[in-house]
C-alpha cells in the first residue's frame, strides 16, 4: 500500500537539511509503529520518498512525501499516529492512499511558490508584480549549479501576488522547479532587492506550496492523483 502525505515544516525546523528531514520523518515512523516497507540490501531504509528539497533557512507550509507500507492502514489513522509523535512544529495535514503506479513526487512536482513577509513600510509594493512581470529579462547571480554566472529568472517566474495585512505585506512568487530554469528563493531575494525591497524588510520567508503546473493552472500533488 502507498500513502501520500502533506505536511508542515514549522519555523523552528527551518534550519534542517534534507537528510535531517528524512531522518526526522523515518524516526517518527518508527516511534509511531507505522508498518513501513524497507528496502533490501546492507543498509535497509524506510521506503520514503520526499518531494523537492526544502531549502535550509526556509520553512514549508505544504510539503509532501510518499510512503510504502507492508500492510493496509487507514490514512487518518496514519495521520493521527504520526502527529502524536512528531515535534510541535511539524504536522501531517492531509494524507491519502495512492495507486502503486502513481509517478514519484520528484518526477511530477515542477513548480513552487515562495512567500516573503515584509514589514509594511510606506513603499510602492502594490505594483511590484507588474514591474517585474513586464520585463523580458530578469538577471541575477546564479546561486545554483553555475554559481556566480548571470542567470535570467524571467522564464521561470509565472506569477506574483501581493497581499496587504495589518502590519505586513506578503509577496508570493510562483516559480519553476527543475528544467529549464530552476528558481531558488535566495535568487528571488536578490531580485526583490533589485526592485527596491531591502533585506532588512524581509522578516520571514516560507515555501507556501509545491505544484504540478499545466499551462496557467497549478495543481497540488493531491489534486493530481487518480
Amino acid at each position: 500500500m502507498r500513502l501520500r502525505a502533506e505536511y508542515l515544516v514549522g519555523s523552528d525546523l527551518k534550519f534542517l537539511g534534507n537528510l535531517d528531514m528524512m531522518n526526522l520523518m523515518s524516526r517518527a515512523m518508527r516511534r509511531a509503529g507505522i508498518p513501513f516497507a524497507l528496502s533490501e540490501g546492507f543498509n535497509p531504509h524506510i521506503k520514503l520518498s520526499m518531494g523537492t528539497v526544502l531549502p535550509v533557512g526556509v520553512w514549508g507550509d505544504k510539503e509532501y512525501f510518499d510512503l510504502e507500507l507492508t500492510q493496509d492502514m487507514d490514512p487518518n489513522e496514519f495521520m493521527k499516529k504520526m502527529n502524536h509523535v512528531l515535534p510541535l512544529e511539524m504536522e501531517i495535514k492531509q494524507c491519502v492512499k495512492i495507486d502503486e503506479k502513481e509517478p514519484a513526487l520528484m518526477k511530477i512536482i515542477n513548480a513552487a511558490s515562495y512567500t516573503f513577509i515584509l514589514k509594511l513600510i510606506d513603499h510602492g509594493y502594490f505594483d511590484i508584480s507588474d514591474r517585474i512581470m513586464s520585463q523580458n529579462e530578469l538577471l541575477v547571480r546564479s546561486r545554483g549549479k553555475q554559481k556566480g554566472i548571470d542567470k535570467d529568472l524571467r522564464p521561470g517566474i509565472f506569477k506574483i501576488t501581493v497581499n496587504f495585512q495589518q502590519e505586513s505585506v506578503m509577496i508570493s512568487i510562483w516559480v519553476n522547479v527543475g528544467e529549464p530554469v530552476n528558481v531558488r528563493y535566495d535568487e528571488l531575494l536578490e531580485l526583490l532587492e533589485d526592485y527596491g525591497i531591502e533585506r532588512e524588510e524581509v522578516v520571514d520567508i516560507f515555501r507556501s506550496g509545491n505544484f504540478i503546473r499545466a499551462g496557467n493552472l497549478f495543481y497540488s500533488p493531491f489534486e493530481k492523483v487518480s
Binding site: N23, S26, R31
Partner: protein, 613 residues
Amino acid sequence: MKDKIFRDILPNVSKPARYTGSEVNIIKKDWNRSRIKMAFAFPDVYEVGMSHVGSKILYGLINEKSDHLLERVYAPWPDMERELRRHEIPLFALESFRPLSEFDVIGFTLQYELAITNVLNMLDMAGIPLWSKDRHEQFPLVIAGGPVVFNPEPYADFIDVFLLGDGEEVLTEFLDCCWDNQHLKRQDRLLKLASIEGIYVPSLYNVKYNEDRTFSQITPLIASVPHTIKKRVVIDLDNAYFPDKPVLPYMTIVHDRAVLEVMRGCQRGCRFCHAGMVYRPVRERSIETLKRQADQQLASTGYDEIGLTSLSTLDYSGVDSLVKDLVKKYREQGTGVSLPSLRVDAFSIELANEVQKVRKTTLTLAPEAGTQRMRDMINKNVTEEQLLEAVKAAFKSGWLSIKLYFMDGLPGETDADLEGILDLLKKVRTLGDEHARKKVEIRASIASFVPKAHTPFQWQRQNTIQELEEKRRVLTRSKMKRIRMSFHDSRTSFLEGVLSRGDRRLAVPIHLAWQKGSKFDGWSEYFNFSRWMEAFRDSDIDPDFYTSRLRSYDEILPWDFIDTGVSKAYLQNENEKAAAGITTGDCRWDGCSGCGICPAYEIDLDIKEEIGR
C-alpha cells in the same frame, strides 16, 4: 532572544541545527519553579557533545529525578562565535535561550585535556570571569567533572569545584547542598560543598613546590577540609538511573544511535590505559535491564541502531546472548546492533558476523603493539596467533577491510617493535589474499603513547616530538600496497602529555594560549602548536619538565591526593612488572591482582552472567 538568533544569526552560520534546540525529548523545566539552575556545558561542538553518554545520563537524572534544572550548552563553532560576539549576544543554553550568567552553576565535562581552552572561551563568551578568584557573589559556580579531572591541578585556578568519579552518584547531592546553603556567602558555600565525598574545592588548598620544581605538597587551608579526595562510585549499576528518553538531535551526530552502557570499568589491566584504571571496578548491567532499556529507547527515539558501549564490550559477561536476542528481536524492523572496537579473538568475529545480519559496519581490532615483547610489557594480553586467527575468521566470513589500532612511543620501545607493526600488517594482508574473495584493504591508525596520571606508566618519560617523528619515518620508510597508515599529530600528543601530568603552575600558559587565540585544540584545523609554545615561553614554564622526565617513585605527584581506589603500590608493581616483561592476568579468572579497588569500596566484582574462558 530566540527570534533574534533565528532571524539575524543562524542564516549566516554553518550547521545552524546545532543551535536551535527544541529537539524531540528535550526537557524544558519551569525556570521559576526549579531549585538550582545548572547549565551542563560540553566544551566541544554539538555533534560531539550530543554523542556523550555521561551527559545523557546527567541530563535525564537531574531533570527527571530532582527539583533542580539542567540545560545544555555546547561550544559554538568559530563562525557562530564570531556572529554572537558581533551581535553582543552572550552564550546561551539550548532549552531556555537564557544566558549562562543567569544560571547558578555552570558544569563542564572534561573528556579530553585540550578541551580546556574551549572551557575558557565559553566562559568568556558568557561574560563570566575565567579565574575562580575573580568570580564574586553574583557569578555562577563553575564546576568540572569527567576523566580528565582525576588530575585536576592544571585547571584548579579556573574551576571552583571539581566532582570526582561517577557523576550520577554525586551531582544531585552537590545541587541539593547548593540549594540548602544558597543563603550563605560564596566562600562559606564552598566550604560546605568541600565536605561532600568526591568533591574537591581547589581554592581551599595551598600548594608547595620543591627547589627542583617538583611537587612538594598540597594542604587544606582549613582543618575541616579533607586531605585526600576519594572518587565516587555507583555500586549498583544495574539499578542506577539510565535515560529511556534521550534527546534526539535533528542533525546527524557522531554516534547517532540508541546507546546501552552494558558495563562500567574494565579489569583487563592494560598498563597504559587511563580509563581502565580510574573507572574501576567492573560493574555490569543485567541482560533483562539492557533489553528493557533498548525497548524504551527505541520507542522514544525511533533510532534504527543500538550501540553497545563500555570500555571493553566484548568482555561483558552477557554479550553473546544480548547481541543475539537484540538482533533477533529488531531485525524485522531493520534495526541493527553495533559493537565498538572488538576484542582480538575468534569469538569477537563470530559476534561481529551476527551483527552483520542487519547492517554493515567496519571491523576494528586493537593489538596496540607489534611484538609479543611489547604487548607483554603493556599487558595487552593478546598473542599474534590470536590476532591472526581473528583476522582469518573475518576474511573468511566476507569482511574486506580491517582497521587496526597501534601505539608507538611506548616505554622501552625499539626499532624491532616498530618493525613488528609492519610485519604484522603484512601478515594480515597475506591472510586477506589467501582467504578473502577480493583484494583487502588494511588501515592502521597509530597513536603516540601519552603517560597518564593514575596509571602504572605515570612515572615513565614520554617520547619527544623528535623521537616520535623519527619513529614515524621508520614506519613509513617503504610504501606498502593496500596498507594505509594514519598517525596522530605528535605535537598534540605532546601537549596532552604536559596537561595530563601537570600541576597548578600550568594555569598561566593555558590562559595565555587562550588569549593568543587557542580554541578547538582537538581539531587539527584549529590546533596551533607555536601559539602554545609561545605561551610556555612567555610564562617561563618548560613543558618538557612534565613530559620527558623519568619520575622517581619517591616523587610526590600532584595528583596523589586524588584517591581512585587503585593503590599506588599496585601501580608501582605493575610498572616494575612491565619492565620485566611479566603480564598480569585478568582478575575475573586469574585471581585477584590486588589493585585495591574492591576493599576500598567494600565490594566484589559485579559480573552478571556465568563466564567461561
